[in-house]
Symmetry: C2
Subunit: 272 residues, 2 copies
């Protein structure tokens, strides 16, 4: 099953994707559907998918957890070492945008070091704490596409990444939640990012150092994961900061982030 | 003015503190009061303050931002350097407990390296982005007490602090929001932590490297701060990890965190 969140009649609404049609569901967004347990198979009014404007897949996740340094080729290009456990940092909801929304760049006097990070994102479907591997798999509703667009000089200003990772309106997420009955544990999926049609990152989610189940089980040692929580699993090699010379996103550039079976985000960078 | 959040008749409710009495207000918690703009001076039913059980001051903040390495003596004891900008990391709402609630320790096989961190916490009162110093001051509703109780081995497992900072049910916050008309910009307040009556940390909020206004102005460059958001400003010297030998919190110990004019949190550590 594929679920999505659209902007509809002045608010956001959840929908089920059926080919070129969206069947509207009784929920304000996919997070609401996951939390309320409303029937996802219900009939409802339909809208054409190509007419619908996508909102952030989950508009107000209780938590957005990101995993860093989690693909070996990216670890090498950043000059880091394979960590002994997943490297967690956070992002706040104000960072999220829809799958086709513009990315709001910071003013040029704030930063021009804007980088892409294509990522597989986990969406939690049921509350889980102290999870075994099978508990972790059962708690995952499915997966979506996220680009952890990063402001590198803010990320590197101190030891902690958060400042460069949660700029407002810079993190595309969507277009759909694709459930685990379709894509299993999220492994084996081609993942890529391109800028203005030029391929920048190309890998496979099987290259993750810590996979989705590892991450959910480990995180649940620390805190209860709740329906609608989003966990971005890290990015493969090919980011702009690691290129020689470095490459950055700028006004007017189009960032495409794609994962096989999950779909793509297409976002144009815009100065405020 | 002092505002608080109590557990009352099976739910949480906001109240105004008037000496030994709490005047119940029309809101589920202080965050709700700040967001809704309900009249904080309204009359209402009262309960005795000493009978009331305090909930987390803001039960579901949109964001909890923490600042690390922000007192010089703590920077020295941790062997770090004064950073060029505030060092931000996050905490999630499931970490929060009330001012007198038990701290739920992790199972001993998870960690025994549990440390105290007395902190001045900012509570945001109105939405602000790209704030000047005066905008920042105007956006602050007031201040409260928070202890960023930390699981040091999880904090140090990777480069990013988050894992050791957001364990469930370990972060006391409260008892009251004391507004800026009472405590100004939050500077000049004695701050301390004691364990089983023995003083462990003793400093003054004027020793902050980046003060409340600096932090709000800088953070608002990155993201919109919203009413009810909490920002913990960092801890002074005297933490357990920096002692020789190191000292850790354990089952049955009582942690007291106090800031002059703001009040105190008293929390007993309990194994699950």
């Amino acid at each position: 099953m594929r679920l999505t969140t659209i902007r509809h009649e002045g608010r956001t609404q959840a929908a089920r994707v059926e080919g070129d049609l969206l069947v509207l569901l009784d929920g304000t967004d996919v997070g609401d559907i996951l939390r309320s347990g409303v029937d996802r198979h219900a009939d409802g009014p339909t809208v054409a998918a190509h007419d619908a404007q996508r909102a952030p897949l989950v508009t107000a996740p209780g938590k957005i957890v990101c995993v860093g340094v989690n693909y070996r080729d990216h670890i090498e290009e950043m000059g880091r070492e394979v960590p002994p456990a997943p490297t967690y940092f956070a992002k706040f909801r104000e960072a999220l945008i829809g799958a086709h929304d513009d990315i709001t760049l910071p003013a040029v006097e704030t930063s021009t070091h804007i980088d892409w990070e294509a990522e597989l994102a986990i969406v939690i479907g049921s509350a889980v704490r102290h999870a075994s591997a099978s508990d972790a798999m059962a708690a995952i509703a499915g997966f979506t596409v996220l680009n952890d667009v990063s402001v590198r000089d803010y990320q590197r200003r101190t030891t902690q990444f958060l400042a460069g990772k949660t700029f407002e309106g810079m993190t595309p997420v969507g277009p759909d939640l694709v459930t685990t009955d379709v894509v299993g544990d999220g492994s084996g999926l081609a993942i890529s990012a391109s800028v203005d049609g030029e391929l920048k990152q190309s890998s496979n989610t099987s290259e993750l150092v810590f996979n989705a189940i590892d991450i959910v089980a480990d995180l649940s040692t620390i805190i209860t994961l709740e329906p609608g929580d989003i966990i971005a699993t890290g990015t493969p090699g090919g980011v702009g900061a690691a290129r020689n010379p470095p490459e950055w996103l700028a006004d007017g550039m189009v960032l495409r982030t794609e994962i096989a079976e999950l779909g793509a985000c297409n976002n144009t960078c815009r100065l405020p």
